[in-house]
């Protein structure tokens, strides 16, 4: 599935882009491709959650074409 991956905060800066287009069939596959692409981001990726279409979603979540997957590192608003 062709999915759009959104990156924020320190993850965004580690990758140097705020979005990536990947081909993946689950959230876990997105995580795996991100770890391979930027090993230095792995510790923060390990502490991050994922959102599919703007809702938190577990690793085994299946993806559909055009889904928006976002990496959500620990939040710090307020």
């Amino acid at each position: 599935m062709a999915v759009r991956v959104r990156l924020f905060a320190a993850i965004r800066e580690a990758f140097g882009v705020d979005a990536l287009d990947l081909d993946a069939s689950t959230v876990e596959e997105v995580a795996e491709q991100l770890r391979r692409r930027c090993p230095s981001a792995e510790p923060l990726l390990a502490r991050s959650r994922f959102a599919v279409n703007r809702a938190f979603s577990p690793a085994q979540t299946p993806l559909l074409d055009q889904d928006e997957v976002a990496v959500i590192p620990p939040v710090s608003g307020g």
């Binding site: 965004r12 959500i72 590192p73 620990p74 710090s76 608003g77 307020g78």
Partner: protein
Amino acid sequence: MNCDRIQICPEPFSWATGELTDPAAGALAVFLGCTRAERAADGRDLLALQYEAYEPMALRQMHDLATAARRRWPIARLIMLHRVGRVELGEPSVLIAVSTPHRNEAFEACRWLIDSLKAEVAVWKKEIWSDGTESWVHGEKP
């Protein structure tokens, strides 16, 4: 239908007590979070905070929090605002305001909303220091 104001604001926000007043509301509680001056152990001073949001998700989460708060407390009016962009020392980055019939529920709802927002909503802050360094905050500061 309610008239909650829930926004992600790229510019300094303004609000007025009048947005919250309602004949049914005897109590208004307001919380503002601001950039607080800080000095690091090595002598650097904090200059400002830079906020970034995953805006559509953050707005959805804020609306969900408002809905949950309304189920739990008899809220007349509610405002929830969060800045993005650079927020200087002393300037507000977040505002939570609720009005309710009595004061206990106003304090409880206001406190629950800010605690939940800080724990869950897709917003991040970066510290900008006087020596030019910058650092993202990911997880509770010590």
